[in-house]
């Protein structure tokens, strides 16, 4: 073994010699090496020093003897280097210096080559080197050093290692492992990283198994193997988990083509899908399935039967599509459910479950939205966009998720333009003359948008009024257009007004991210206005239905009495006459009507979305693509072009769709299921259409901050959509002959009922005490106080953050000043060196001396 090592060393020496020879030839060039190379050399020198320092640390815990040895060696080393430097600085003959350089080079080379071997070996090499140096420079050979070298040579055999050396080897292995872990963060070139990684891995592979002896060794090897297996398993698990995230690959692909703003929409869509799955699970599992399985079957009672008048057309597609006929008298709608307290052999409390699921879906949605918002807020951190505008732009404007060359081009162009614009803006703000025009344009744009909003609101109001008139006349007398006017107008306005807003917003000249938010806000206002107009119209209809219900109720009592009056005289003992449930007169059931309206709205909305997608994107893309062969101008680059993906419109469509679901889910349990279906289809359809018919946005921008904006909007919509639902639940009494709450005064009476009959008496008492205003009010007060306290603390934290930031800035400036001073000093040293060099002019080596000086200066 030793012989081999010696041989290796010899070889290396020979190699060095060869290198020396070759160096001597190219010496002239060597003198004028570039500064960069020097810097590199400086780096290696520094790294060597670092390593030595580290070693010093690691050896601290070792026996004194070794330590003393080491320190002596290090001291010698340091001295050696110092002397070398001084010698060089004193202008020694060129030869010795070049030797030095070569030696250092070879040392570096050795280090790189031997990276895979033990540190101990490196040490021996270093010692060798030192020895060589000493031989050449001072010819002072130390016997001790020789001995030490021999010691080191012995250590290298893993078979007969002393525990001490074993420990050392282990440490080296650990160090390598640490290096592998932290390699990613090292500021090295990729090539070096790869080399270092491979070498370290080889080293670890080689020596990890060799550690330990006998039984311990086996155990150790086993342990190592197990950790490896475990790591691999973990990695596989991680991969599997990523593969399990639905549509992850699709979204990543889109992200790489269109940038993160488009991808953020799809991520949002996926998140929405997840929430809807849970809502669907709740309503499906706790309401629809129990009713279908355990409730009374179809046709057993009037509310579960299609009335005689509608029976003929109950299975027609047109009727079913309109949610009438058999669809209306099924578990899909509120009216089908019976008010029986407990159903089936499980004694399932159907009305209670219905009520709690209705409340629970809303509560769950609130919880999820707020939790997500809080998490996003944490992630976004405290960033102020104003203070380091240009630095932010320089260092953070690239979107690393882009993988498509065209998008990258676009991004590149957009960064350049944003720089130009920012510079212009800066100049403008300095000049401060055009601000009035901008302000005027912004005000004008907002005015136009307001006009547009008012116009659309009025149009919807007008249409709704007209439709009420039609409804009074009887719908059969009117055309399809007139009957579907409300939905049509709402969909069309929802489709076209955002386009108009988009055009208007170009007036304002905002940054695209800000513009997107404005656009979102405007569309939000538009949709909200439309939705609330719709709800107000619905409320009117509910009132109409309730008046109708009063009349029907009266009629039914009349009908019943007439029925009994007509039959009683004949035989009073006979069982009551059985009337087929389809013939029983019944009330209008406003709840089902509301549910139907919402389902219709959702369906027409979905249809509009898909049709616009097909016409606006697909057909347009096809036309542009294939008409381009025979058109007189370039259709692709010029006038119609391909469409861009409209992030804001799509996000808002999604949010409002969700709002409608929340609003209507109480009256139509099928709504979450419908929505899940819709989201699923639109995920695939939109992924396809965005990849096949859309082009990347011209101004690609990052959407890192917009997620919380979406969430905030969702929260607002959630609140606004629960308001009318809660209002109807709390204030309007349920219909008398349909739904799970029929016969009660208010829908929430079901809770009272349950408390009274299903719980022990004391529980009811406790509950009544707890709901006492005397207890509730202080509790609310406490909550308000707690919120206030938390808010004020968070505010103070924020202030502290700002303070800290200021401090950091001050520190930075201080550092900069220091650096400047140091640089000045270095320059002075350099000047001095130049003077010296000019004094010793004529000597051929002045340039190398200068180089050395410069590298010295670099250390400062």
């Amino acid at each position: 073994r030793r012989r081999r090592r010696d041989g290796e060393r010899d070889k290396k020496r020979r190699e060095n010699g060869r290198r020396k020879a070759s160096k001597d030839v190219g010496e002239g060039e060597e003198k004028y090496q570039t500064k960069r190379e020097k810097r590199e050399r400086g780096k290696t020198k520094r790294s060597k020093n670092d390593r030595e320092a580290k070693r010093r640390e690691t050896y601290k815990e070792e026996p004194v003897k070794v330590k003393s040895n080491k320190t002596r060696e290090i001291g010698k080393n340091a001295k050696n280097e110092n002397t070398r430097k001084w010698e060089a600085r004193m202008g020694e003959p060129e030869e010795s210096y070049t030797k030095e350089k070569k030696k250092r080079k070879s040392a570096k080379k050795e280090m790189e080559e031997d990276g895979g071997h033990s540190i101990a070996k490196e040490e021996t090499h270093q010692v060798n080197k030192i020895k060589k140096k000493k031989k050449k420079e001072t010819s002072e050979v130390d016997n001790e050093d020789n001995e030490e070298e021999d010691d080191k040579e012995k250590e290298l055999r893993p078979e007969d290692l002393s525990p001490e050396e074993l420990e050392k080897l282990k440490e080296a292995v650990d160090e390598r492992k640490k290096l592998i872990q932290s390699l990613r963060g090292k500021p090295w070139p990729m090539k070096k990283k790869l080399v270092a990684l491979r070498e370290s891995q080889e080293f670890v592979e080689k020596y990890e198994g060799a550690l330990g002896k006998g039984k311990g060794r086996k155990l150790y090897a086993y342990k190592v193997m197990m950790t490896k297996k475990w790591m691999k398993f973990q990695r596989d698990l991680e991969n599997f988990k990523t593969a399990c995230i639905p549509w992850e690959m699709k979204i990543k692909e889109i992200e790489s083509h269109f940038g993160s703003s488009v991808a953020s929409y799809f991520i949002f869509l996926r998140w929405m899908y997840g929430i809807n799955m849970i809502l669907f699970g709740l309503t499906f599992g706790l309401v629809m399935v129990p009713e279908a399985l355990m409730g009374r079957p179809y046709g057993s009672i009037p509310r579960k039967t299609v009335p005689r008048a509608e029976e003929a057309s109950a299975m027609d597609f047109a009727v079913l599509w309109d949610c009438g006929g058999y669809a209306q008298y099924s578990v899909l709608f509120y009216g089908y459910y019976n008010n029986q307290r407990a159903i089936g052999w499980l004694k399932f409390r159907m009305p209670l479950s219905y009520f709690l699921v209705g409340v629970g879906t809303v509560a769950y949605s609130y919880m999820v939205v707020i939790r997500t918002m809080a998490r996003n807020a944490n992630e976004s951190g405290v960033g102020d966009d104003n203070s380091f505008n240009f630095s932010w732009k320089t260092f953070t404007s690239w979107d690393y998720l882009i993988g498509n060359p065209e998008t990258a081009d676009n991004k590149f162009a957009s960064i350049t333009t944003s720089f130009k614009e920012a510079i212009l803006e800066e100049q403008e703000s300095r000049k401060d003359d055009n601000i009035h025009l901008t302000r005027f344009l912004r005000v004008l744009a907002n005015f136009l948008v307001l006009c547009c909003l008012a116009g659309s609101g009025y149009l919807i109001y007008f249409v709704v009024r007209r439709s009420q008139k039609f409804a009074l006349d009887g719908l059969e007398n009117h055309t399809w257009w007139e009957r579907n006017e409300v939905n049509m107008v709402m969909s069309l306005l929802g489709m076209f007004c955002p386009m108009l807003f988009d055009v208007i917003s170009t007036l304002e000249n905002y940054h695209p991210r800000v513009a997107l938010q404005w656009q979102l806000g405007r569309i939000f206002a538009l949709f909200l206005g439309n939705l609330y107009t719709f709800i107000i119209a619905l409320m009117d209809e509910i009132n109409l239905k309730r008046e109708e219900e009063m009349i029907v109720k009266f009629n039914i009592t009349m009908w019943e009495t007439s029925l009994y009056n007509g039959t009683e005289p004949e035989n009073s003992t006979a069982p009551p006459i059985s009337i087929h449930p389809a013939d029983v007169p019944r009330g209008p059931c406003w709840e089902t009507m509301v549910g139907q309206e919402f389902v219709r709205l959702i369906i027409s909305d979905t249809m509009t979305t898909y049709i616009t997608l097909l016409i606006g994107d697909f057909i347009r893309a096809v036309l542009v693509r294939f008409l381009n062969y025979c058109w007189c101008w370039d259709l692709e680059a010029g006038f119609p072009s391909y469409s861009e993906f409209d992030v804001s419109g799509n996000v808002l469509g999604l949010i409002f769709n969700q709002g409608m679901i929340w609003m209507g889910a109480f009256y139509a349990p099928c709504l979450p299921a419908l929505n899940v279906l819709r989201l699923h289809v639109s995920m695939y359809l939109q992924c396809w259409s965005v990849m096949c018919c859309n082009v990347p946005q011209e101004r690609v921008f990052k959407a890192s901050g917009s997620n919380n904006f979406y969430m905030a909007m969702l929260l607002v919509i959630l609140f606004l959509s629960t308001l009318p639902a809660i209002y109807t639940i709390v204030t309007i009494p349920p219909s008398f002959d349909c739904g799970p709450f029929s016969g009660k005064k208010r829908m929430f009476d079901v809770i009272h009922e349950t408390l009274e009959s299903d719980f022990p008496a004391w529980f009811g008492k406790v509950f009544s005490y707890a709901s006492n205003p005397g207890l509730v009010l202080p509790f609310i007060l406490l909550m308000v106080l707690a919120i206030y306290y938390l808010q004020s603390t968070s505010k103070s934290y924020k202030e502290a953050n700002v303070e800290l930031k200021k401090k950091l800035q001050a520190q930075n400036e201080e550092n900069k000043k220091k650096n400047k001073r140091a640089a000045l000093q270095a320059q002075m040293v350099l000047e001095e060196a130049r003077k010296v060099a000019s004094q010793t002019a004529g000597q051929p080596n002045n340039s190398t001396v200068l180089q050395e000086y410069e590298s010295e200066a670099f250390y400062f």
Binding site: W481, M488, L492, F496, V503, I504, N628, C632, W633, F639
Partner: protein, 259 residues
């Protein structure tokens, strides 16, 4: 019958289209409607009217003033698709950098670009200008002479470009073209470029500049240069001449030859 409310709901769409494509509507009005009207009223062709205006408003012998008069006429009075001042500056710069000795211009129209190129040429350079239309060529001739360029500097060839290019070497004794400027029919960009490649007049470093590659656009031409690999090329993005909102580009090709 469709109810009026539904028809009203289409109003935002209409407004959007009008606002978004206003530049195209303006262009249509200026380039087509005004032209037809003026043709009927004056009985002169558009180029003749432009020539009259230039004759009245420009200083003879001064190319700058002629170009300026053209610009004023095209932006204020009527519309002719010359290269325009903005893209013209890019062209000037390219000519200055290249300082070519033999220049071929395809599509002189009424001489604006010819004057522009001739103005930027170094001493002893020669410009061959190709124009297909007889009447336009006559006006271009007048404009060129008005600007003070003689036969030695500018040679006007009245013939379609696809007939001229193959005979350039034989009839005009050309060995190599340093600079080619294309501004004729957008459809003939691609075949003419192929003709030029085939004629062997392009040497390494010859520059070809093509105007209006985005609007009205020459997609085949762009596809060809993308595919052929014979050129180092880029598109200078600008707006259409005398119009603010329509994006257009000027392709700059440097012939590299077959590697």
């Amino acid at each position: 019958m469709v109810s009026p409310a539904i028809a009203l709901a289409f109003l935002p769409l209409l407004l959007t289209l009008i606002i978004r494509y206003r530049y195209y509507f303006v262009l249509f009005y200026r380039a087509v409607l005004v032209r037809i009207w003026r043709d009927c009223v004056t009985g002169l062709s558009r180029e003749e009217r432009a020539y009259q205006y230039v004759l009245v408003h420009a200083t003879p012998g001064d190319p700058d003033s002629i170009l300026e008069a053209f610009d004023v006429w095209c932006s204020k009075v009527e519309y002719i698709s010359n290269i325009g001042p903005k893209k013209g500056k890019i062209l000037d710069r390219l000519l200055m950098e290249q300082s070519p000795l033999t220049v071929l211009e395809l599509g002189a129209h009424c001489g604006y670009s010819t004057v522009r190129i001739a103005r930027a040429l170094p001493l002893g350079a020669r410009l061959y200008s190709v124009e297909m239309d007889q009447r336009n060529a006559a006006i271009a001739e007048k404009i060129i002479r008005l600007a003070g360029f003689d036969d030695d500097t500018v040679e006007l060839i009245v013939n379609p470009s696809d007939e001229v290019i193959p005979r350039l070497r034989a009839d005009y004794g050309l060995e190599r073209l340093d600079f080619v400027f294309m501004d004729h029919w957008k459809k003939s960009y691609c075949p003419d470029l192929q003709l030029l490649e085939g004629s062997g007049l392009l040497g390494k470093g010859s520059m070809i500049v093509a105007d209006n590659v985005l609007f009205p656009g020459a997609p085949k031409f762009l596809r060809h240069i993308r595919k052929s690999g014979l050129y180092e090329w880029k598109v200078h993005r600008a707006t259409l001449e005398y119009s603010k909102g329509i994006r257009d580009g000027m392709a700059e090709l440097v012939y590299q030859g077959i590697k």
